[in-house]
């Protein structure tokens, strides 16, 4: 187990390093002069020179990369050019919105998808199955930002029971803040839930065909006991994989959804930073988001070992 952990950890660190190198190369080396990109073509030479110095562009690229890495590791992400505050400060502030939003969306989609998927598998070929499958087809096909717009049209504009956008802030109290997150979370969760439900269904169906489920039935377990006690846990292995992969889609989703709802989160920050050519912020955020995806997939690998004893190593008589 310790060895398994160590191997995964090494892979994690290597992936993060490669990712940081790519981000650095794309953001700092490709454009030629990042300072010129940030200021545009009409920049005055002295402003340009000041910015170059502030960004440390007079140093060789290798040294800048090492400095940046060191900064990332120590939590010093540099100073935003447009906001004039430290990027870490910006991130912390926005994380207070994006993290709860992502968590609510994940919980919502899992709570919806897994029972629906299992239900559809258990009632294969019957009305419930057809209903769930129809719902998932629509859920996958619907663009999440359009779904968000429809939600706003209905709940915000037409019925006016939920806010159409903006964030109340946690200092306004938990409920008002949560209220502003409901529609965005639903918009994020639904397409994810659709995919997850399909994966759950097919995985459970596949497991139901396995010999050990027949063995459980031969022991006298009812169909549903065999399903819940033997099929579902085994079927979760591919489901967890997809959940890990979905996390990256979820991040991408927050960039869009936060823009639809005008939520001051990380996604909106990235978007605004691009509009303002604030390469420092873009670089750090892209790196952070990529790192989040990598770390989540690392956690998924660990989750495997919890679900599947075959991956835990240990003694074997074979």
């Amino acid at each position: 187990m310790a060895l398994f952990l160590l191997q995964r950890l090494t892979a994690l660190v290597v992936t993060l390093l490669v990712a940081s190198l790519v981000v650095f190369l794309v953001m700092e080396v490709l454009p030629g002069d990042p300072a010129a990109v940030m200021l545009g073509i009409n920049a005055r030479p002295d402003t340009l020179a000041a910015l170059r110095q502030q960004m440390g562009l007079d140093l060789p690229a290798a040294q800048r990369y090492v400095l940046w890495l060191g900064g990332l590791a120590s939590g010093d992400l540099g100073t935003s050019y447009t906001y004039g505050v430290s990027v870490w400060e910006l991130v912390r502030e926005r994380l207070g919105l994006s993290l709860p939003l992502a968590l609510i969306a994940i919980c919502l989609s899992t709570a919806l998808a897994i029972p629906l998927g299992v239900l559809a598998a258990a009632r294969r070929g019957r009305a419930a199955d057809a209903g769930v499958m129809g719902f998932t087809q629509l859920g996958i096909a619907i663009p999440n930002f359009w779904f968000a717009i429809l939600l706003i049209l209905l709940f915000g504009v037409h019925w006016q029971i939920l806010p159409a956008g903006g964030f109340a802030g946690w200092e306004a109290g938990a409920w008002p803040a949560l209220k502003t997150l409901i529609l965005p979370a639903v918009a994020l969760a639904l397409p994810q839930a659709a995919i997850l439900a399909r994966v759950t269904r097919s995985s459970v169906l596949e497991t139901l065909g396995e010999d050990f489920v027949r063995t459980a039935r031969a022991k006298g377990l009812t169909r549903s006991a065999a399903l819940w006690r033997h099929a579902v846990r085994n079927a979760l292995i591919p489901v967890v994989t997809i959940m890990g992969l979905q996390f990256s889609f979820l991040l991408a989703g927050t960039i869009i959804i936060e823009n639809v709802f005008y939520l001051p989160g990380l996604g909106r920050l990235v978007f605004q930073a691009i509009a303002q050519h604030d390469l420092i912020v873009v670089k750090d955020l892209v790196m952070l988001l990529a790192a989040a995806v990598v770390v989540v997939n690392f956690l998924v690998d660990l989750a495997y070992a919890v679900i599947d004893p075959r991956l835990r190593g240990g003694r074997s008589y074979e």
Binding site: A11, V37, A141, F145, W146, V260, I274, V286, V293
Partner: protein, 290 residues
């Protein structure tokens, strides 16, 4: 014996067609996809109104006999712009999936054929590329090069590479364990020749199915990018951009937000149903039962 016992290819295709016709989802998917392509082709030579004809007095009209789907903020015909937007969606998605499959399939096949270090490198590259969802690479590329359709193609294409590499490697690996591949090695064939003659033909149907699904995902991603303003730039019509423009006018002209979204949804739905139908149709387990 299988119902596909006859060996002439024509008979096999006829058989596919007979079975496919029986599935409503498959027929719907095929129909929608065909319609989409037809509309896109027609829009190249003809649209009900010129796509860029600005007509301020008639702006934000609801659907009427003249403008079937109404007009937008500048009085442009929504239907015409939707039709032209189909071209944009198809072109971006097609090239992006082409990039993904064109690079991913050889990489995956190589990893499966060579194993060892080559495989390790390819798979690490894969894991790493997965860390950059299309939107994130689009953000990076746009930040540096500025927005545009080409950038969305690159971003979506890059994200498709590991999808195809993984799929190809996984499916190839299980084939490499099969005895007929071993037989080809005993016959003296090299790894490349085995990949071309045995592996790729046997995973072709799997790849075709995945391509339709990725195509659908690419349409969604392209719409998302242009909605954010990172993809196709105005005045070129694109479904995502139309939704973006509609959002601010939501209370004034809700129809502007409905039709482009419906267009995206129906297209993606059709492609997904087509993919599902193809999967059932090409599934060797169904085909080879005796």
């Amino acid at each position: 014996m299988s119902e596909l016992g006859r060996s002439e290819p024509a008979a096999v295709w006829r058989e596919y067609w007979t079975r496919g016709r029986g599935s409503a989802a498959f027929v719907f998917g095929l129909g929608v996809t065909a319609l989409l392509i037809a509309v896109a082709l027609v829009s190249l030579v003809w649209t009900p109104h010129p796509i860029d004809a600005i007509d301020i007095p008639n702006r934000m009209q609801p659907p009427s006999a003249d403008h079937w789907l109404g007009t937008d903020l500048y009085g442009r015909d929504v239907l015409s712009r939707l039709m032209a937007g189909a071209v944009n969606s198809i072109a971006v998605s097609l090239v992006a999936v082409g990039i993904g499959a064109g690079l991913g399939v050889p990489l995956g096949a190589l990893a499966a054929a060579r194993r060892g270090l080559v495989e390790e490198v390819v798979m690490r590259f894969n894991d790493f590329t997965f860390a950059f969802p299309a939107l994130l690479s689009a953000v990076m590329i746009t930040a540096v090069l500025g927005p545009g359709a080409i950038n969305s193609i690159i971003a979506i294409g890059i994200f498709n590479i590991p999808v195809f590499a993984r799929l190809t490697r996984g499916a190839s690996l299980s084939l490499w364990k099969r005895d007929f591949v071993l037989a080809a090695r005993v016959a003296g064939k090299g790894r490349t020749r085995i990949t071309v003659e045995h592996i790729l033909p046997n995973i072709a149907s799997l790849l075709i199915v995945q391509m339709t699904i990725q195509f659908a995902l690419a349409i969604l991603a392209e719409a998302g990018l242009s909605y954010l303003g990172l993809g196709t730039q105005p005045p070129a019509p694109s479904w995502g951009k139309m939704l973006n423009e509609a959002q601010t006018l939501m209370s004034l002209a809700p129809h502007l937000a409905i039709f482009p979204g419906l267009a995206i949804m129906v297209t993606v739905l059709g492609l997904n149903l087509l993919g599902d139908g193809l999967r059932d149709l090409l599934d060797p387990r169904l085909r080879r039962q005796r």
